[in-house]
């Protein structure tokens, strides 16, 4: 009897890339729900635009490059990039801004480097940073979260749609409700005006710890992140190190001078901290390879994020920190190779 020959091993035990990516999408659901609750349905529009543009541009590039379109589209990686980018954007973002960022993320940051697995920089963060420097005003324009808007409601769907399609709003909508400062933004601006932290956080915008709504968004994001850890889709090294890199300086400076430095809890639960820790820094392709390297990588992102938040001109620094550490990854990898069995002590 004759048999087909295959190379060893004959057993495979892993879940596919597509399954892993799908889990990441599921893990984002709690954060998405809270985000919509506080800021309205605009975020859903962002995701739709980003997803359509991401899949479309990915399919286009794959076709041009004569790569199997179906195989790579169905790995969900473009979708994950799109959703992460969309969830970083303000809920009121005109469609062309979202589309521009997505094209940069998918085409420039991912496919010009060779597609899945080869990108040096985190595609979602490239897209985000491009938008941040190209459309600074739009990117800072977050509406007020539910309950502290004048009418205690999020913006009506009609307003959102109109803004989404045209970039302007009906005359009867107050600009305040549309583009308030985020807590991170507000802290930066008011500290610049010589107000102290205790005064600043008295504002209802700040909620209990780190900004009304933002606390819950970050908590929900962390919940999804915890699930990814539990499912072993991400490992503990990068989140832990990034947390340490952000919290350690925050704690030190808070103890030294609480009047001009936000508390560690504020840093932990405001802005995109949790999204960065669990979903963005943990992108394996653009992260360091070894466990030791990942600790350094995460620590670097945390520290740079704190430095930019505290002393830089931009309210949040996660995207920049991720890009900078992405750049450092090959050098980190070079110096953090584990000792091979049988070589040295």
């Amino acid at each position: 009897m004759k048999f087909a020959s295959n190379a060893a091993p004959h057993w495979l035990g892993a879940e596919s890339v597509a399954v892993l990516m799908r889990q990441v999408l599921y893990a984002l659901v709690p954060a998405l729900i809270v985000l919509v609750w506080f800021f309205g349905a605009g975020i859903i529009l962002n995701i739709l635009v980003a997803a359509v543009v991401a899949l479309g541009s990915e399919a286009l590039v794959l076709r041009i490059r004569k790569r199997p379109v179906g195989l790579f589209i169905s790995d969900y990686s473009a979708l994950v990039t799109a959703v992460l980018l969309a969830m970083s954007l303000p809920p009121l973002t005109p469609w062309w801004i979202t589309a521009t960022g997505t094209v940069f993320a998918i085409v420039f940051a991912k496919h010009l480097y060779g597609g899945l697995g080869y990108n040096v920089f985190n595609p979602a963060m490239v897209g985000y940073a491009v938008l941040l420097v190209s459309f600074p005003e739009d990117m800072a324009a977050w509406p007020l979260p539910r309950n502290i808007t004048p009418d205690q409601q999020t913006l009506s769907l009609f307003t959102v749609l109109q803004y989404w399609a045209t970039g302007s709003v009906p005359a009867d909508v107050t600009v305040d409700a549309l583009s308030a400062a985020t807590p991170l933004n507000s802290v930066k601006g008011q500290l610049g005006m010589m107000r102290t932290m205790p005064e600043i956080v008295g504002d209802p915008l700040f909620g209990n710890l780190a900004g009304h709504g933002w606390e819950w968004i970050n908590a929900a994001t962390a919940l999804g992140g915890g699930w990814l850890l539990y499912r072993r889709i991400i490992r503990w090294q990068i989140p832990t190190a990034m947390l340490a890199g952000l919290l350690a300086p925050a704690l030190v400076f808070y103890i030294v001078d609480p009047a001009t430095h936000p508390s560690p809890a504020f840093h932990l639960l405001s802005g995109g901290t949790m999204l960065g820790i669990f979903f963005i820094a943990t992108d394996p392709v653009s992260a360091a390879a070894s466990n030791r390297g990942r600790l350094i990588y995460g620590l670097g992102i945390g520290i740079i994020t704190y430095v930019i938040r505290n002393w830089g001109a931009y309210p949040d620094g996660i995207a920049f920190a991720v890009l900078l550490m992405n750049l450092a990854v090959p050098v980190i990898d070079r110096y953090t190779r584990p000792r091979i069995y049988g070589h040295g002590a």
């Binding site: 940073a129 001109a313 990898d333």
Partner: protein, 193 residues
């Protein structure tokens, strides 16, 4: 002391010569193919930057200004830089012939690295102290080295990436430089000058 450290931080991160001023792109693209080469090039450029900043400051402050012949700044700085580069090249050729061979034309080309002349001229215009002038030189060199070394690591990794044909080599390197510059934008405002 603090002002010197701030100057160095500012020139390394905030006003990074390569990624925010886009000076010295020629060696960045030309000599970053290999990690070891990039390290050599970084050391050479840092050495030249620091030495040229110091010497040109002294010549400017104690020769050109007292004699009231500042109009000779440009030409005398160029002479100084050329001499420093020549000196560096001699040192490299004698101490590490292999590195000299690999760097090839890029060592003499440090002369035309606008970053070097830029730092010297800026120092002359800004009425800084000698130590501050040197700090600008060191900071500029370190900033260049930082980008050079990180960049060469990325380029070594790109050698194994499935980059589309038309984008191989310089194209993808420039794209990478652009995205790295995006990262450096984050340091904006870190140090007020």
């Amino acid at each position: 002391m603090t002002d010197l450290i701030l100057i160095i931080i500012a020139t390394v991160l905030v006003n990074n010569l390569v990624l925010t001023k886009f000076l010295g792109l020629c060696p960045l693209l030309g000599a970053s193919n290999k990690f070891e080469t990039a390290v050599g090039m970084s050391l050479a450029t840092t050495f030249v930057l620091t030495l040229a900043a110091a010497v040109s400051y002294l010549v400017d402050r104690y020769l050109l200004v007292p004699l009231d012949i500042e109009y000779l700044r440009l030409i005398s700085f160029i002479v100084i830089i050329a001499a420093v580069v020549q000196f560096t090249e001699t040192v490299i050729r004698r101490s590490s012939p292999m590195l000299h061979q690999v760097l090839g034309l890029f060592v003499p080309l440090i002369t035309t690295n606008c970053a070097v002349l830029g730092i010297a001229l800026l120092n002359a215009q800004r009425s800084v102290s000698f130590l501050q002038a040197v700090a600008y030189g060191i900071g500029g060199g370190l900033g260049f080295s930082l980008v050079m070394v990180l960049f060469s690591g990325v380029r070594e990794r790109l050698d194994f990436a499935d980059v589309p044909m038309p984008f191989r080599g310089t194209a993808i390197a420039l794209l990478t430089a652009g995205m790295a510059a995006l990262g450096f934008i984050g340091f904006t405002g870190l140090v007020q000058e």
